[in-house]
């Protein structure tokens, strides 16, 4: 009961704050209209009235309740000023850049955290990600300070992956990779489940190449990552006393921010195959 009373009291105070804010805003708007304080025919009251309202409300709310209540009077003032300024007083003036600007300012005043996050993180973040704007500036600063460390940004040729070498590497470790789930002709003893993972980052330095070359580079990275993964899996199983893996699975997927990395997983049952049975 006590809590409810407290809440009702707070609500009442919040309402009062909004009313005070709205009155302050209206007074400001009236002041600007009366003295016709305008630039290029655009009354500055449109901008200042909601700001004063929001400020007054926040100030009063902070005094009365001790917390921010969200500058609702700024919204009210915004609606009042737009309806009066653009529809009643000046019906020919429709949507324009100033309206959009004032909307932005009002919303910013009302919910600053969200809007600042949206503007700084989402819009600037997206723009900077797409254009590489900040990176260019940082690179310029970096290379001005450490000019000798600048590296060539473009790789011209992407070598073909040596499949033969990779095949020999994988299959010459005294270790046998078996993809079958249950090789019935082999006598083996299960050691346990093993997995290894490796990450291949997208090479951003080849961004200026043709798409075909980028793909070839990606494919090379993936193949290299896969070999690395398989060798590590073999090492892991060998160190646990095994000499083969059965039910081997190799999985590729995207990882990282915006799919910036490829992750490769090799997993399977580590086993020990008895000597007398056929393996290479």
């Amino acid at each position: 009961m006590n809590i409810d009373k407290q809440r009702m009291a707070n609500l009442q105070k919040a309402f009062n704050s909004i009313v005070i804010g709205t009155v302050a805003g209206l007074a400001t708007y009236a002041f600007f209209l009366y003295f016709n304080i305008a630039i290029f025919g655009w009354n500055l009251g449109l901008l200042f009235a909601p700001l004063v309202a929001g400020y007054a409300e926040t100030f009063v709310a902070n005094k009365l309740i001790g917390e921010n209540i969200g500058a609702i009077s700024a919204f009210i003032l915004f609606i009042v000023t737009v309806v009066y300024g653009f529809i009643i007083a000046n019906p020919t003036l429709g949507y324009n850049i100033i309206t959009i600007g004032s909307i932005a300012i009002i919303i910013q005043a009302a919910i600053p955290t969200f809007i600042n996050y949206f503007i700084i993180v989402v819009i600037f973040g997206t723009l900077s990600y797409l254009t590489g704007f900040f990176k260019k500036i940082l690179d310029k600063i970096k290379y001005t300070i450490f000019p000798e460390k600048k590296k060539e940004d473009i790789i011209d040729t992407v070598p073909l992956f040596n499949e033969r070498e990779s095949n020999e590497l994988i299959n010459s470790q005294d270790f046998i990779y078996i993809t079958s789930t249950d090789p019935i002709d082999l006598d083996y003893e299960i050691i346990g489940f093993f997995y290894t993972t490796s990450i291949a980052s997208r090479n951003t330095r080849i961004i200026k190449l043709s798409p075909e070359k980028i793909e070839r580079q990606q494919l090379n990275d993936l193949k290299k990552g896969k070999d690395e993964c398989l060798i590590r899996l073999a090492d892991k199983i060998k160190s646990s006393g095994g000499n083969a893996v059965i039910d081997l699975d190799i999985v590729y997927f995207l990882n990282g921010l915006g799919g910036s990395d490829f992750q490769i997983i090799a997993r399977g049952m580590g086993v020990k195959i008895k000597e007398e049975h056929p393996t290479s």
Binding site: E163, Y177, S180, P183, L186, I214, K226, I250, L254, S280
Partner: protein, 107 residues
């Protein structure tokens, strides 16, 4: 070269396990082809260009895998797995096709 996803070859004896053979191929570089394929999707036809690209890529991967099996002296591949993964890229159309299996020698 016999390719099978099964664990054994029926009526044949596996005399030697040769090792792992893999094949990989990527498709999706050609954005115009992708766009065309998108149009076909909207119109409702089969996206034959895309299907063909995937088939071509799968063949590349399988061939690469078979070559490796031959290199190891195998005459069959068992436990064959074929996987298709989306690796993002322009319009999310970079598809990685991987094939892998166990190279064996049978009699």
């Amino acid at each position: 070269m016999i390719l099978t996803s099964a664990n054994t070859l029926e009526n044949k004896e596996i005399i030697e396990y040769k090792g792992l053979v893999t094949g990989e191929a990527l498709i999706g570089a050609n954005i115009y082809k992708d766009l065309f394929s998108g149009v076909r999707d909207v119109v409702g036809g089969r996206t034959s260009t895309y299907e063909e690209e995937i088939k071509k890529a799968r063949d590349i991967a399988l061939e690469s895998m078979e070559e490796k099996a031959e290199q190891l002296g195998a005459n069959a591949i068992i436990g064959l797995k074929i996987a298709y993964d989306n690796l993002g890229g322009t319009m999310g159309n970079t598809i990685l096709i991987t094939t892998y299996g166990t190279a064996i020698k049978y009699e």
